[in-house]
Symmetry: C2
Subunit: 333 residues, 2 copies
DNA sequence: TTGTAGGCGTTATCAG
DNA sequence: CTGATAACGCCTACAA
């Protein structure tokens, strides 16, 4: 492997010049630039990224913390991130997170200054210790679809989504509308639900009661959705419509309902969240979320934070949009 | 950020000793090790990964080349890779590939010695130029679900899968069995189909004719599956069963069939490939592929190649397994 | 505009 | 076992 020295020698210039050419510095005469470029070509020289990172203290790498529960919505988000990152000549380091321990470890390591120039955490609440370190080392981090005081974040307005879903069901004539929510912090069941505020607001402004047990708070999985519906149907006055916090939950709800002999949407209506491929295939009414755009924007915010370390934390909220399909209908008379 | 020098000074030892402690070298007395560890703790020292990589010529990073068309099967594979990689204290660098150009660029860059210690390419045929460079620089690379002479690869035995699918349909009584295949090289439609050999073998050993137009070769998408079925149904003697090279294709086939008023499986049977979540939800009969294991094994092969550069290329084949569900039935009398 | 020298934080190779 | 010291390949003043 040729080094910058070999190139310099071959081109009959100093390594400074080669370095400048490599970094598109304007401080090189056209003639020398040509000679250097030719030498690079001739030798098949490729600058060593690690050495560059070491010397410049810039890895050109962004870390991505990805929980596995994202399922089918991960790919669109990843695409969006790539869209932004590719232009900036950055590369992605991915850490997958399966449980709480993973998450903490990932956040722990991710701040290893030098490993990357910044991090993007998807659907993940950072532990307090990590947040402190980020601040202390002014390590740029952007949260996606979660927010945290003092940190940049890009996400959907969950409460607005919940309001839209409830309003839609109420508009169809439903009065007993339940919520299958998820904790803000996936790994802390005790944390508040992401949609509960919006749900309550919408219920109250539609003059509807939030009955006991109508707020289920479970994880994003299909199984959890099924279980939640089971509990809902055991209520004295079971709901006629269910607003879920993920498409997977909604699918679980639909399956559990059918398993009990309820027809969807004739006997019960269901609204999912995200508009994943599943929702499309299965015809689940849902709230579409601009996943690819979200990914792109989050990456852009992070990249600008890297470029201008003094930047204040930014917060971007995007609206979701209701997509009526086949799982919602007026309640039975 | 404290450096190794700070630690050495704080512990009253040389940096060599600190380095040895960091790398679990046995050549340190228990006493000194304790002192060093204490100093590390006290200073909150964290070794700089880039400096380490630079000095040791080991990045502890593995690159992953991921085509976007993988869809829902990417996550299980990624999990498997993580399973293996996590133990070895490696990290993943991900490059997504959307089209042929992306692929070539990804393979081009991925060999930038120093960026990573090795690469894992999923469902991707490497361009000849890249293969040459890998050989020249003895850069470790493992192909997943694709094979290439001289390179390690881990994958499913596609021909065996096709044989199993055809045999299953034939066993149900089908005689007009068509194949919706995919090119070995996704970005080269002219390359042979991954399943065609197995398909032909199975047809011939079941004494069935491969009629004109019965071998469709398209991309992995649902749309492509629909289109292929359209062509199949326009044939003078349309098939009564279709073996597909992906679940997405199979779903497309089902949708197109229903769109034409054909019932599945009453009028036409369909077998998918991979056993993705989609296939489970939608009840598509398919060939299950051990995706997570595949990912783990591929990563393991790569890690061992990194550890022992002299190792010969390895090839691992795993069988798929037929999962009967709701899209196959005997043909109409 | 260009070349030179110093430094980035570790690892690894030596003597001791 | 331990401590200097020389790489590692590149960037970046600084001097020319």
């Amino acid at each position: 492997m040729p080094t910058i020295d070999d190139v310099a020698r071959a081109a009959g210039v100093g390594i400074g010049t080669v370095s400048r050419v490599l970094n598109d510095s304007p401080l090189v005469s056209a003639a020398l630039r040509q000679r250097v470029l030719a030498a690079i070509e001739r030798l098949g020289y490729r600058p060593n990224p690690v050495a560059r990172a070491f010397a410049s203290r810039r890895t050109h790498i962004i870390e991505l913390l990805v929980p596995l529960f994202l399922g089918p919505i991960f790919l669109p988000v990843l695409q969006g991130i790539e869209d932004a990152v590719a232009e900036a000549d950055y590369t992605l380091l991915v850490r997958t997170v399966e449980d709480r321990e993973d998450r903490d470890r990932a956040f722990e390591r991710c701040c290893a200054r030098g490993r990357s120039d910044g991090a993007l955490a998807l659907w993940l609440v950072p532990p307090a210790a990590a947040v402190e370190r980020f601040a202390a080392e002014s390590f740029p981090i952007v949260l996606l679809n979660v927010s945290h005081p003092g940190l940049s974040s890009v996400g959907v307005d969950h409460d607005a989504s919940a309001r839209a879903a409830v309003k839609y069901c109420a508009g169809l004539g439903h009065e007993r509308i339940a919520l299958v929510d998820r904790p803000v912090d996936t790994f802390d069941p005790a944390s508040p639900g992401i949609c509960e505020i919006g749900y309550r607001e919408a219920m109250s402004s539609a003059n509807l009661d939030v009955r006991d047990g109508y707020e289920q708070k479970v994880d994003l999985s299909q199984t959890a959705g099924s279980a939640a519906l089971g509990r809902l149907l055991n209520l004295a006055e079971p709901p006629t419509a269910v607003v879920a916090a993920s498409d997977a939950q909604a699918i679980g709800v639909v399956q559990a309902a059918r398993g009990r002999g309820w027809r969807v949407p004739a006997d019960i209506s269901v609204v999912g969240y995200s508009d994943s491929d599943y929702a499309q295939f299965l015809g689940i009414s849902t709230i579409a979320v601009p996943l690819r755009e979200l990914g792109r924007e989050a990456a852009e915010v992070l990249l600008s934070a890297i470029a201008q370390p003094a930047l204040m934390p930014q917060t971007v909220f995007r609206p979701g949009q209701l997509v009526p399909r086949k799982t919602c209908a007026p309640p039975r008379a």
